[in-house]
């Protein structure tokens, strides 16, 4: 956020006026804040994006857990939590208090240092991912030239936390669960990154701000979204599937499902460390939803967004609406689809998604070099559809009998 370097001195001046009336320290404090030294301005300018990320996104995480439980409840024909406060509004606070005050059990022969470090390493990449997501026109916490590359580099570091959690617990079943989780995450990273490469090829830059800016314009700022292009639609589907598998959400939630090998890599964690694992997973899925919105759904673009203060506020609203939509789709899929078996999972990643993502990159090549737009649309769509049909026929290994339905009489 380059604007913070202009906002920081004004904020300090405002604070100096506000605090100037305090009895003894008011006047010197006002003088200090009114003419701030350079390091103070820089410190405040750095602190503003950090506070924004730390205040907004964990709040979204807390209420996502509540919305998820109520939505899953409604899908399963029951009401979700509604005891703690009207409509269960205070439920996340109750959950937080419960997990904080639970006893922290560490197995006797566990490796204490690694056992302690694993939840920390689970959370750090998820929070770092938020630093490259643009929440409004020109409003990204850190404006990196290599934004998307940084996001993927950081998300591969979360693999370590899975392995460390499973290893340090000295539990054979934890280790097996951790190995399966690592295999799943590492397999789905590849089609996810290749789907993002398609977008980067079209925009010509790895910076998330430029990717979002490239989707502005068009009718009502909507028709330029990449999801409305053939390669963009396929890329969107591939990236969403990869993002769901990265953060271990159903239908890929083998690492953390209750009916799988105990609880996988976080079996031996209780209390606050377990809360950190959950927070890392949910924050990763929200951050990946944010990156999906940036790359495919137009980022902060929507009717009325643009430069200037009012346009900036409208663009922030549009970003959060789209983020909420992606989170809602995630929750909906969690409530309705069954879990994938682990060999089906690996087969799907390597036999279907990876070839499809390479085909998508070639489609972007066609799109770029066929300059007559209708021909480009036709060729690209045909190419993608043909390859999709071929891959699904090749990868379908089990033949199912036609379904018979039995209804309750």
């Amino acid at each position: 956020m380059d604007q913070v370097y202009k906002v920081a001195p004004q904020l300090l001046k405002f604070l100096s006026h506000l605090l100037g009336w305090l009895p003894w320290i008011g006047k010197p404090l006002a003088a200090f804040l009114g003419n701030p030294p350079a390091w103070l301005v820089m410190a405040v300018a750095i602190a503003i994006p950090i506070l924004f990320v730390v205040a907004v996104f964990p709040g979204i995480f807390a209420y996502t857990t509540l919305v998820e439980r109520k939505a899953l409840g409604r899908i399963q024909n029951r009401i979700g939590p509604n005891r703690v406060g009207r409509w269960g509004i205070l439920q996340p606070i109750a959950d937080g208090v419960k997990l904080l005050t639970k006893e922290d059990i560490v197995p006797r022969r566990a490796d204490k240092f690694v056992h302690f470090l694993a939840p920390v390493i689970a959370v750090i990449p998820s929070v770092l991912l938020f630093s490259v997501v643009p929440v409004g026109a020109g409003l990204v916490p850190v404006n990196l030239n290599i934004g998307i590359l940084f996001a993927f580099a950081v998300s591969t570091a979360s693999v370590l936390a899975l392995f460390m959690g499973g290893w340090a617990s000295r539990n054979k079943f934890s280790l097996l669960g951790a190995m399966r989780a690592v295999a799943q995450v590492v397999s789905y990273e590849v089609p996810m990154v290749l789907a993002a490469v398609a977008v980067v090829m079209v925009v010509g830059s790895l910076s998330t701000l430029r990717i979002a800016k490239a989707q502005s314009g068009g009718f009502l700022n909507v028709t330029n979204w990449f999801v409305f292009r053939p390669w963009g639609f396929v890329g969107f589907v591939l990236f969403s599937i990869g993002a769901m598998a990265e953060s271990a959400r159903t239908p890929f939630d083998i690492p953390e499902a209750e009916s799988e090998i105990i609880a996988g890599y976080h079996t031996e964690y209780s209390g606050f460390k377990f809360a950190l694992f959950q927070m890392g997973e949910y924050l990763a899925s929200i951050a990946m939803a944010g990156i999906t919105v940036t790359m495919f759904l137009g980022g902060y673009n929507g009717p009325g967004s643009g430069p200037g203060i009012l346009g900036g506020l409208i663009s922030m609203c549009w970003f959060f609406v789209k983020l909420a939509f992606m989170i809602a789709v995630n929750i909906w899929i969690r409530g309705t689809w069954p879990r994938v078996r682990v060999d089906q999972l690996m087969g799907f990643a390597w036999k279907v998604l990876l070839p499809m993502s390479i085909v998508n990159i070639i489609a972007v090549g066609f799109w770029h070099y066929l300059t007559i737009r209708p021909i480009a649309w036709l060729v690209t769509t045909l190419w993608l559809v043909v390859w999709f049909v071929v891959l699904s026929k090749l990868a379908a290994t089990e033949k199912f009998a036609p379904r018979t339905y039995r209804y309750a009489s």
């Binding site: 490796d111 240092f113 690694v114 470090l117 990196l144 030239n145 290599i146 590359l149 940084f150 993927f152 580099a153 950081v154 591969t156 570091a157 693999v159 370590l160 392995f163 460390m164 290893w167 340090a168 280790l175 690592v182 590492v186 010509g204 830059s205 790895l206």
Partner: protein, 168 residues
């Protein structure tokens, strides 16, 4: 900016020293990860942004995980031994030699004009240039690298799978 250099160097050197001297292998790999992070920080400080991101992506994301898997698959029953006895156990001999060599290096470097050069305003290289160069001037090494990586992938899988093939 200078203090950042010293802090990053301290992290890197401590990570490397711990990586070769801890008794528990997993702790060794964790301090190796700290070492990789320090080197990535040095790359960012030297304005090689793409290289720093690639360092994190490949070394911490892939090589470190590979080492953890290899450690897990080759566990002893009895646990790990520490460092071997070198120089008949007289560690002060090795330390003295290291200090003498470091002093000699310092004396050479202090007077050399090349080594005392200061940088003159380097802008970060853009990834677009690297991409363009990879497919125009450097396309042959790029394709050779692709073949090498494919061969390494297939070879590693075949070597590690040998047991299952033999049992049939």
């Amino acid at each position: 900016m200078d203090t950042i250099f010293w802090i990053l160097s301290a992290i890197t050197v401590i990570g490397a020293v711990l990586a070769i001297s801890l008794r528990n292998l997993i702790h060794c790999v964790l301090s190796l990860i700290l070492f990789f992070l320090g080197i990535a920080g040095h790359y960012f400080l030297l304005r090689a942004d793409f290289l720093g991101a690639v360092q994190i992506l490949i070394y911490i994301g892939a090589v470190a995980v590979l080492m953890l898997f290899a450690i897990m698959l080759t566990r002893h029953v009895t646990g790990d031994e520490g460092p071997r006895e070198v120089l008949g156990g007289k560690w002060w001999a090795g330390m003295g030699t290291a200090i003498i060599i470091a002093g000699l290096l310092w004396a050479i470097v202090r007077k050399d004009a090349l080594a005392q050069a200061l940088p003159t305003g380097v802008a970060a290289t853009s990834v677009a240039e690297i991409g363009k160069v990879l497919v125009t001037d450097w396309v042959v090494p790029f394709e050779a690298m692709a073949v090498l990586l494919t061969a390494a992938l297939i070879g590693a899988v075949v070597i590690a799978l040998e047991e299952i093939i033999r049992k049939r």
